[in-house]
Symmetry: C2
Subunit: 288 residues, 2 copies
């Protein structure tokens, strides 16, 4: 069944992005094969494409499926929860890879995902970033909708970036909420939606409140790119925030037009900031 | 009504500690007068002592009560929520003080409390730390109960201290939860109990999990000392943690014997770490 044209292997977690990567790859004249992680990948998304459901820890099956379908390039996309070691039940190859991951299993996300990308490389695969296929879904610099951050919001964005720069060095979270200079909430393992709910509860009276989401400095962008979807916009609005700042060129939007429309309706800004050389290459215009 | 012996003014927020400060001051031969912050101070605690209920922003009334009762030394103790500017309704003196607080109103907690202590000093008062009266309620170095942290817990404590040192410089929170090297949750404005609940939800399978609570480096200890009570112990146990680490000599226990008993029953350690010169002066024996 190995396809003649080049085949991209897509290791798919949840959400719509694995399907979008497949669509973009096929539009480029490539073929695709999806490794759909059981309990995470969404059937409606992956079943439109050649696919196989595989447990996260069945590394032997994953590698053999990828090789059978002639996939040399692979893309990791869509959220999976950090697996429980008890529930992993690795196959033989999986156990071997767990051993190679070793201490990285107990490191932060960056350590774990970085080690995984390294091991896949050693196995002869080339891990490509989802953003290489989804450049149209990348957040752009400056305001993307009709709302523009005011001076107070810009100051809060700057403070949030400072906070995340420092947190990122500790491999903690990718987000925080800042209002009038006060850091309301910091994201660790709980995820952005949970942080937004909490930020709404401890929001201070008065104006403002900004969600800032950035890549961590050492973050493996090929395995773990910050993602914003329509639900992020809804939750930011519910928390009473005035907008969302993200890394231009370093943030994937699961549905960019829908996100912009939702932000415009909710009166929130969507503001891409440039962070460093890496994102500047990807971003389309200058920012902050 | 000014008392002949020296009178300590206690500005009382919630919880039992204002009563304990009063008791300790009276045991030292001083008299006390409690400014009970309306909506925060607990009637059962403050009504055993000479007191007046005052709104948080009624600075004119606060200062005149303190002067009427001849209080030169004052103690700020017990939690108050950061007030809503809308709800403050300051009196004339309060408006004047709000103006003097100025930008500090919009700074982090450290900035705000530091400015408040400075202004009270300018008004002729001497702000004393609650810990000067409650030395028996200060957490001590090393394990205080029967449970002792194992090597993994000690490594998690060290990681949590690193994280808090960095966060503290940004004036964010006083706590985090670390399990097997992974930072599960970071405390910002939501408070320790809310963070513990979340940490329980995103706890990783496997052993371990430690709550680490420290003073921020620039924290105004005379206005805002980390506090641990029996509820902290209960919530840490519910979150599946193995123990609590805190700054020896820099943490107030609302009921130290009850906390130690609760920790022993729940199988949690209570472990005091030494952090810097300041805490070393207060701590009773060497730590980590």
């Amino acid at each position: 069944m190995a396809a003649r044209q080049e085949c991209v292997g897509i290791l798919a977690g949840g959400g719509p992005l694995p399907g979008q990567v497949a669509e973009a790859a096929v539009a480029e004249g490539l073929s695709v094969f999806i490794i759909a992680f059981q309990d995470f990948a969404e059937p409606a998304v992956v079943e439109r494409w050649p696919h196989a459901y595989v447990r996260l820890a069945a590394a032997g099956k994953i590698l053999s499926e990828l090789r059978t379908h002639g996939c040399r390039d692979i893309v990791l996309i869509g959220p999976v929860r950090r697996p429980s070691l008890r529930d992993l039940r690795p196959d033989v190859e999986g156990a071997r890879i767990l051993t190679r991951l070793g201490r990285a299993l107990f490191a932060g996300d960056d350590g774990l995902l970085g080690a995984l990308v390294r091991i896949l490389g050693e196995e002869g695969f080339r891990v490509r970033g989802a953003h290489e296929f989804l450049s149209h879904a990348l957040g752009r610099a400056e305001a993307m909708g009709v709302v523009v951050p005011d001076d107070m919001a810009r100051a809060d964005i700057a403070r949030g970036m400072d906070v995340l720069r420092v947190l990122g060095r500790l491999d903690i979270g990718q987000g925080c909420v800042v209002q009038a200079g006060v850091v309301l909430a910091v994201e660790a393992m709980e995820g952005t939606d949970s942080m937004l709910e909490r930020a709404g509860l401890c929001r201070q009276p008065g104006a403002g409140g900004v969600l800032v989401k950035l890549c961590k400095p050492g973050q493996e962008r090929r395995a773990d790119m910050p993602t914003i979807g329509p639900r992020t916009i809804t939750n930011a609005g519910r928390a009473g925030l005035v907008g969302i700042a993200f890394e231009a060129g370093g943030t994937l939007f699961t549905d960019l037009p829908a996100c912009i429309a939702a932000a415009d309706r909710a009166g929130l800004f969507l503001f891409g900031v440039e962070v460093d050389g890496a994102s500047r290459e990807l971003a389309e215009k200058p920012a902050l």
